[in-house]
């Protein structure tokens, strides 16, 4: 189990792990539970430039299709290829093997402005999402 207290979060249920300039992005355990069984993942294209809150990719479950947003601005430099064949990994291991993509941040400090774990838990409990 990853140390989730070191991660940063968005209100739209993405987590971010920053190493140098590279931000690894996934969805939270709460999000994978709500999305339910994932059947298809459309990963972003490597090299694509994104802004924070841009829709980066789509996850489709037995319930519906969900947009996954880029938490910070930058360029997509890596994607978790394994997910196209085995999307269920996101359900099984949302914080580790189920990571989605990596962004090379325009400004790594932007990650600091995202929610802490405590703030995320708080936001999650008050929002109706």
């Amino acid at each position: 189990m990853a140390d989730t207290s070191k991660l940063r979060y968005t209100e739209t249920h993405e987590w971010v792990h920053l190493t140098g300039k590279i931000a690894r992005v996934g969805i939270t355990d709460h999000a994978q539970k709500e999305i339910s069984d994932i059947v298809f993942i459309e990963l972003p294209k490597i090299g694509r430039a994104v802004k924070g809150k841009d829709s980066a990719m789509v996850i489709e479950s037995v319930k519906a299709a969900f947009d996954i947003y880029a938490p910070v601005a930058g360029k997509i430099v890596k994607i978790n290829e394994e997910l196209s064949k085995k999307p269920e990994i996101v359900n099984q291991s949302p914080y580790e093997n189920g990571w989605l993509f990596e962004i090379e941040c325009d400004d790594p400090l932007e990650v600091e402005s995202l929610l802490t774990e405590a703030q995320y838990q708080n936001a999650k409990n008050t929002s109706h999402h």
Binding site: E34, D37, V62, K63, A65, E88, H128, H129
Partner: protein, 510 residues
């Protein structure tokens, strides 16, 4: 009014605990064989042999289209075919035998007299290539239908071509695109509230637009401030449903339309929820520029698992030149197809739309008249509010308040006890009730969207409440019954994940 057939069974279940217990046991299910699998006995082949005529037939068909292997057709007797398909038809779940409160789908009863009228030989035997002068009656109906729908929705002109709601949306956005292009404006975005039907963003994406989501506010309505922050000259259109999918009337609609028009955008009305507004208010008066109707929801055309539906599209004056062609016109007491429409987006469907569906709706409108149509919506609203208030004790209603023709409740209290909306939906099937729409709209957790429609009696609504009360007791006392439901249907819980990942779409002889 006597109790519908299926409800007799429900009453039985409610009265008699032991019978409900029987339901709890997983009765042995036997899969109905496919017609291909019935091919075992030695029946006479019914396909005529080609003997002696190979030359004649085979020469006229291009080589590429000839099959290499013999067709795998089952050899079964006529009686076996009849029994097979009659048996399948009896497994149908339909509004004719069961209560069907499927939110946003308006599964109302469709009077049988409408089928009888559509089957009259003057309608059913008419040929689409018949000359205008020999089809004046049919053309008159199409023309008057365009007028009726314009009157009901407050629009200036209608096309009857689109074959269903999503087809209507496509038509609407193509019209919006043609309009903006004709004015030389570059528009790239379509705004859509987060409570919208999934078809709206799908249509916008298909038409090449960037979809921008507008948030809902605490009242469950479009957040006007969020909308304003997303409005700029690149916005082609705002797509809205009113009442929205929470069953709430968008109170700010006049202001919203004004703001979108101010950036030269259009406002599109998704008619899925029109059953709440007939004769009460009109999208055209709210500032909508384009609307689509679902004749198969609001205007009593059967739908679900086949249809066919019909999704006429209406527009305001400035958009008339872009409507699909041909429209039916009236000139000097004669009805004819328009011959020239240079700015039209073109033809959307073969001939003139689903004529049979249009006839049914035309007869429905004629039979009910102005007062009758208003009564439809009033009763739909009363029925929904009656259920909302009665069910509030059991279920959370996150956006509570007077609703329109439907409302969304949440199985959040039940979820804490380990039972989710999906389980309750499945258990309802055992009681002979179609489940409400679940997990939609997405902004409500464990959503169950209930739309009783105007055609249900108070007794039916009361029985629905009783059934949910009974399920509530089961959740307390014997949750396994609910978690493993359904027990009485031809099949139990399907493996939806496997079905989505590895769909098995055709029969193979193994």
């Amino acid at each position: 009014m006597s109790t519908p057939l299926a409800l007799n069974r429900i009453t039985d279940l409610l009265m008699n605990d032991s019978k409900a217990k029987v339901l709890s046991k997983n009765e042995t299910r036997s899969r109905t064989p496919l017609i291909f699998e019935r091919h075992s006995r030695n029946h006479a082949e019914w396909l005529p042999a080609l003997e002696g005529h190979e030359e004649t037939y085979l020469k006229s068909i291009p080589q590429d289209f000839l099959r290499k292997k013999e067709a795998n057709l089952p050899s079964v007797s006529e009686l076996e075919v009849v029994r097979h398909f009659t048996g399948l038809s009896q497994k149908n779940f339909s509004v004719d035998v069961n209560f069907y409160p499927l939110g946003s789908c308006t599964m109302k009863y469709n009077p049988k007299c409408l089928d009888a009228i559509a089957s009259l030989s003057s309608f059913s035997l008419i040929h689409p290539y018949q000359e205008e002068s020999l089809a004046q009656g049919a053309l008159k109906i199409l023309f008057e239908m365009q007028e009726y729908l314009s009157e009901i929705t407050g629009m200036d002109e209608f096309t009857l071509q689109p074959a269903a709601g999503a087809h209507g949306e496509l038509c609407g956005l193509l019209i919006a695109g043609a309009y903006h292009r004709a004015r030389g404006s570059k528009k790239t975005k379509v705004l859509i509230p987060d409570s919208a039907h999934g078809t709206n963003p799908a249509t916008a994406a298909l038409c090449g637009y960037e979809v921008v989501t507008v948030k809902s506010n605490a009242k469950g309505l479009v957040d006007f401030d969020d909308l304003k922050s997303k409005l700029d000259s690149g916005v082609a259109c705002l797509m809205m449903t009113n009442p929205n999918t929470l069953g709430l009337f968008e109170e700010d609609i006049l202001e919203i339309a004004k703001a979108v028009h101010a950036v030269d955008g259009l406002v599109y009305y998704d008619g899925a929820n029109m059953n709440a507004l007939l004769g009460i208010c009109r999208p055209g008066d709210m500032g909508f520029d384009i609307v689509h109707m679902n004749l198969h929801k609001t205007f009593a055309v059967p739908h679900g698992s086949g249809g066919p539906g019909s999704g006429p599209v209406g527009v305001k004056k400035h958009l008339i030149p872009f409507l699909p062609s041909p429209r039916v016109l009236k000139q000097k007491e004669k009805f004819l197809f328009e011959k020239q429409a240079p700015q039209s987006i073109g033809k959307l469907r073969s001939f003139y739309g689903n004529f049979g569906a249009i006839i049914r709706s035309y007869a429905y409108i004629k039979a009910l008249g102005k007062e009758g149509l208003r009564a439809v919506s009033e009763n739909a609203i009363i029925n929904a509010n009656y259920l909302r208030v009665r069910l509030k004790k059991m279920y959370d209603v996150p956006y509570d308040g007077i609703c329109m023709h439907e409302f969304v409740m949440a199985a959040t209290r039940q979820k804490k006890k380990g039972v989710r909306a999906l389980d309750i939906a499945k258990r309802l099937l055992d009681y002979g009730v179609h489940a409400p729409t679940v997990y939609f709209p997405l902004i409500v957790e464990e959503a169950m969207m209930v739309e009783p429609t105007e055609t249900e009696s108070k007794e039916t609504l009361d029985e629905f409440v009783q059934i949910l009360e009974k399920i509530e007791k089961e959740i307390e006392q014997d949750p396994a019954i609910v978690l493993e439901a359904p027990h009485t249907t031809p099949v139990g819980r399907m493996d939806e994940v496997l079905a989505a990942r590895q769909p098995n779409l055709r029969f193979k002889n193994s």
